[in-house]
Structure formats: C-alpha cells, structure tokens
Amino acid sequence: MTHFAYIGVLIFCLIGTAWLEVAMRTNVYRRWSRLMLSVVPVAILFTIWDKYAIAQKHWTFDAKYISTVTICGTIPLDEVLFFIVIPICAILTLEGVRSAHGDAVGDECLLGADGEAR
C-alpha cells in the first residue's frame, strides 16, 4: 500500500478540487479540449525539467512510497501525474474564484488577429 503514498496525495488534490465543478459550476472539465490544450504542453515541459533534474541528481525518490512504473526510463509515473493533476487543480481554483467573486481574468472579450480586443 505504501507504493500509493505519492499517488494518494494526488488523489487528495483531485478530490479536493473536483467539487468546485459542481458547487461553483466552474465548467472546467466540461471544457475538456481547452483543459487538455492547457495542461498537456505544461506537463510535457515540466516532465523534461524533471528528467534533467533526476539525471543531475537534484532530487531522488524513496522507492517504497512511489509506484513501480517509470516513464522514459527514469521518471516515476507519479511525477508525470503530478504535472497533470496540479495544473488541473490550478485551473479549477481560478475558475472557482471567478465564479465566487466575478473578478476579471482577461478572457472576457475575444482577441482579434491583431491581438486587440474585438
């Protein structure tokens, strides 16, 4: 069971933010294509950083507490999931705050090809 410690933290994060989709009507998961287009490039970039950091021994993992699956040879699956889960949580939080307070985020009006608001 200890192999699920890291993934357990990620599940806590997912559950801890998922209720916003219902209670605050964040509509983040509903807009799944925008969600994927935001999360995937970030996850790829930070996985590359992780690969470098592991190679340079910036950080190591206690094999007891992580899954036994690795990606690209050296990166624990847990880490890749982290770079997917945390961005989703961040977007849900932003949209939850927008729902609660109605503050402007910057996407209220569409931008034209010239970069100016239309």
Partner: protein
C-alpha cells in the same frame, strides 16, 4: 544548472511570457493572487507531506539548504526550507501554476472553450461565498 538557478530562471521566463508574450498580465490581476493564495496553502500541505516523509529527497549541492537527511525529516522551517520543502519548490510551483493559467486564459482569449463560462455558484454555495 542548480535547482536554485533553474527555478529562478523559470519564474523570470514565465512572468516574461505572461506580461509580454501572451500579454495575459495575470500577475497584475487580483484574481490570480487570490487563486494563488489558495493554491499556495494547499501546496504547503501536500508538498510538506511529500518532502517531510522524504518521499522526495533533495541533494544539498543543488538547493540553498542542505540535503534531505537520510534518517530523519528535514527542517520544518529554516535551512532553506518552508514546511519541509526547499524554497525552490515554491518557485517551481509558482512557474507551473502561472504557466498553466497563462495558457488557459490565452486559449479563452482566442475563442477556445470560452463557454460554458464559470458560475454562478449553486445557491447553497452563494450563501457561503457572499
């Protein structure tokens, strides 16, 4: 490069992206800082678990503080750590979150997934958030 250098560089890169490339200017918006404050407090908790239980361990050559001890938890506060995690992790987290939100808002600005927009909260939540 050390973790300290990389995390500082990433912050500068993402802020440049926010202000001058994507021009989302999230760091100038109140809503970003409100959201970040919430995320930050949960980061202290969850990252504290990952670093305090030494699920993730750090090499002192690459951070401001010293290596994660092999037989005990790292400092809770001090020695370059906040809630067990190296301060570099907070910079790393800031970059991860700001970059994600810059992309999310940028996509909305060009018309991708703008609707259905967020809110209003359900009535039982409206009473709590008012």
């Amino acid at each position: 490069m050390t973790y300290t250098q990389l995390s500082l560089l990433s912050i500068v890169g993402v802020i440049v992206g926010d202000l001058w490339i994507a021009r989302t200017r999230l760091v100038q918006r109140r809503i970003f800082w409100k959201s970040y404050a919430i995320i930050f407090s949960f980061q202290l908790l969850t990252n504290g678990i990952l670093t305090g239980y030494r699920i993730v361990r750090y090499n002192g050559d690459n951070i401001l503080g010293s290596s994660t001890p092999t037989d005990a938890a790292p400092a809770f506060l001090g020695d370059g750590r906040i809630a067990f995690a190296p301060v570099e992790d907070l910079l790393f987290g800031f970059s991860l979150i700001l970059l994600t939100l810059v992309l999310w808002v940028s996509l909305g600005r060009v018309g991708i997934g703008r609707t259905p927009s967020a809110g209003p909260p359900r009535s039982f939540m409206r009473r709590l958030t008012k």
